[in-house]
């Protein structure tokens, strides 16, 4: 920690720190992270190919179920899907396709998978984004309150509620909400993202918002606990810090000590975690989208799994895992900007 120039004389600055000759430490750090991310992505691509091929089920049989088709027709379909090729050849085609973001044709929809993904991405981001923002804000506020007043009745009640909801399966909670508030009380639509026949920007927005209430509520209820518990423990970690005592001893009111000193420092690990979670959020909404028939990537994945529609599930697996990897990378890159101690 000590700068080489010694006490009493200011050091020449952080850049004066000795690094290995050649590369700036920041470049080395960045390069290392990016390399790790690329390797992980490649591993995910390979896994995705083999994982869904060991799944039981024959796509051709599933798609032709209940119809009388000739052996020739079946053969034609197989050839169409490229399933007549030997596995190594399929793998090479798959890899070449991935490199060019060509995920192939969906077996069941007969359109390019990339088109399907583009179409479904918006609704998923809308749902997952709204849910994450609300859950994060709720978690941060409640977690700060709980940590600052640890052991109080409020802390125990808030923590208890959060952990109970956290342990509830999201599809169960979603179904319960549908039964109670949608089909039951008729307050909200039971499924989908929009109602037919609604026109005008404002009316459409309102209609979508109305459809979003239950899925978003389900998602928030199930995930806010993790943000809350992490913020709570970060605040607890900071509570014993001497700089809070210093601030109090200077005459700062308790509420301001919390706001100005404890929260910014406690936020650091929490924000990192929120970033890490962003990637997982997208895959986490699969169940919720399925329950609420939300036209996003999650329900697309579900419909792909049933066949199995290999191009769809392969591509989405890579997209889901890739978003986790990219968010990890982003968290690694953002962390140094937030914390002056690791700024290089």
């Amino acid at each position: 920690m000590d700068t080489p120039s010694g006490a009493g004389r200011p050091a020449a600055g952080p850049t004066a720190r000795r690094g290995r000759p050649g590369l700036h430490p920041a470049v080395r750090y960045l390069g290392g992270r990016v390399l790790t991310a690329v390797v992980s992505l490649l591993a995910v691509m390979v896994t995705s190919f083999f994982l869904f091929r060991v799944l039981p089920g024959d796509p051709v049989a599933a798609l032709t179920q209940g119809r009388s088709v000739s052996v020739d027709q079946l053969e034609a379909m197989r050839r169409d899907f490229g399933l007549d090729q030997p596995l190594p050849q399929q793998f090479v085609d798959y890899c070449l396709g991935m490199m060019t973001l060509d995920f192939g044709m969906s077996y069941q929809y007969r359109v390019p998978v990339s088109e399907l993904i583009a179409e479904r991405l918006g609704p998923t981001l809308l749902l997952a984004g709204t849910g994450t923002v609300i859950a994060a804000v709720l978690g941060l506020v409640l977690g700060t309150r709980s940590g600052w007043r640890r052991g109080s009745l409020m802390d125990r009640v808030d923590t208890g509620i959060a952990l109970t909801l956290w342990s509830v399966p999201s599809f169960w909670l979603g179904l319960l909400l549908i039964v109670l508030l949608a089909s039951g009380a008729g307050l909200f639509p039971t499924s989908g993202m929009s109602s037919p026949g609604v026109e005008g920007t404002f009316a459409v927005a309102l209609d979508v918002a109305h459809h979003m209430v239950l899925p978003v509520a389900t998602m928030v209820a199930v995930v806010y606990a993790q943000y809350m518990m992490i913020m709570r423990s970060s605040v607890l970690d900071e509570m014993g810090a001497d700089y809070l005592t210093t601030a109090r001893a200077k005459g700062l009111r308790d509420a301001v000590v919390l706001r100005r000193h404890a929260v910014p420092n406690a936020l650091l690990p929490t924000v990192t975690l929120i970033f890490l979670n962003l990637g997982r959020v997208v895959s986490g909404v699969i169940l919720i989208e399925t329950v609420f028939a939300w036209p996003g990537l999650g329900s697309l994945f579900y419909s792909g799994l049933r066949v199995p529609d290999l191009p769809i599930v392969q591509a989405l697996f890579v997209v889901f895992a890739g978003s986790v990897i990219i968010m990890n990378l982003l968290a690694d890159l953002v962390y140094p900007l937030l914390d002056p101690r690791v700024r290089t």
Binding site: A241, T246, P264
Partner: protein
């Protein structure tokens, strides 16, 4: 930092103390049925204007708790803290006004400075709390930094604590206290976490601040050499109680309490006879012994010297009591030290 401070400089003997405690007790309630920890268990202490008082004692004896109580950061279980003779009022508004005039410097400047605040923000904070942001804030920050020995101050404004050395960080912490122009600084082991090479500089700084601005200080330390070097008076604390007070010469050159003697005997440069390594378990504020609280570890009692003086029974059963805070007189809480010196052989003990 060679000669002991001249006690005449401590002007406390005349006027009323600036900061004082009377019968101060602080107990931390034990978790789930365990006994409460009486971290501070009856302390009278006075700090006069421009006076440097050293509070010495082993780790765990309650020094930090006492220091925090002096700032109103911990509320006393019993007794009171007074500032210029008036008891502290624990209302936010009154505490705030009080904390403008008494400041705290902690042991470890790495923890005591917010890692995300620049030096400028750290030093300016106290002033912003009490006077808001003013146009001349920059000048005040610069002046506080130079008074704390960081020159030229502008070079430090935008630094973060982790870019500074330990000694520089402690100077920043001190500057943060100085900007409020306090009357008293309570420094809790201000150099204990620093390299030996910069300790002297920080102590010099405290002495100079006293000389130049009449700043009084309570310096908490477990280092007797440090107390000798900078303090006018010393108070020796054992298990929540001050057991000996007086000028540094009285306490450190002619110690009367067996605990003080034992502390001094283990110093390398000690001339006070053989080393006395204190036996017995380390003191535990949840179980303060009856009688003299030091009696289970007291070498004088163990060696039979207390018996010879006829006070051994009192050592075990009678609390020697609290010392008054008054700075004029050297005091000691020990039956043996108070026993008449040449013992008449037929003296039969108390009662």
């Amino acid at each position: 930092m060679s000669a002991p401070a001249d006690p005449a400089r401590g002007s406390a003997a005349g006027g009323a103390p600036v900061l004082s405690t009377a019968g101060l007790q602080i107990a931390f309630s034990g978790r789930s049925g365990r006994a409460a920890a009486r971290a501070v268990d009856g302390v009278d202490l006075e700090i006069g204007a421009g006076e440097i008082v050293a509070l010495v004692g082993e780790s765990g004896c309650g020094k930090s708790t006492l220091a925090r109580a002096l700032l109103g950061l911990v509320r006393p279980t019993a007794g009171a803290v007074s500032f210029h003779g008036r008891g502290l009022v624990y209302r936010p508004r009154d505490l705030k006004a009080f904390r403008r005039r008494v400041q705290l410097v902690l042991q470890d400047p790495t923890g005591a400075l917010n890692p995300r605040h620049t030096v400028y923000d750290a030093v300016a904070e106290g002033r912003r709390i009490h006077t808001g942001s003013t146009a001349d804030e920059r000048d005040h920050v610069a002046e506080a930094l130079s008074r704390a020995g960081l020159r030229p101050p502008e070079r430090f404004f935008l630094r973060y604590p982790h870019e500074l050395s330990g000694g520089q960080r402690q100077r920043v912490a001190i500057a943060g206290a100085l900007i409020l122009q306090p009357e008293v600084i309570v420094a809790d082991e201000p150099v204990a976490s620093l390299d030996a090479s910069v300790r002297g500089e920080i102590l010099q700084l405290l002495l100079r601040l006293r000389d130049d601005y009449g700043l009084a200080a309570l310096v908490v330390t477990h280092d007797l050499g440090l107390a000798w070097n900078i303090a006018d008076r010393a108070a020796v604390m054992y298990l929540g109680r001050v057991v000996e007070t007086g000028t540094v010469e009285e306490v450190l050159a002619a110690p009367r309490h067996p605990y003080t003697r034992a502390l001094l005997s283990v110093l390398p440069e000690s001339s006070a006879g053989e080393q006395q390594i204190l036996a017995g378990e380390p003191p535990d504020p949840t179980r303060i012994p009856a009688g003299c609280r030091f009696h289970v570890r007291c070498p004088v009692l163990a060696s039979g010297a207390a018996q010879a003086a006829g006070v051994a029974d009192r050592c075990r059963s009678e609390d020697p009591g609290m010392l008054g805070g008054s700075p004029g007189v050297a005091q000691v809480a020990c039956h043996w030290a108070h026993a008449p010196e040449p013992e008449p052989a037929e003296w039969a003990g108390p009662g």
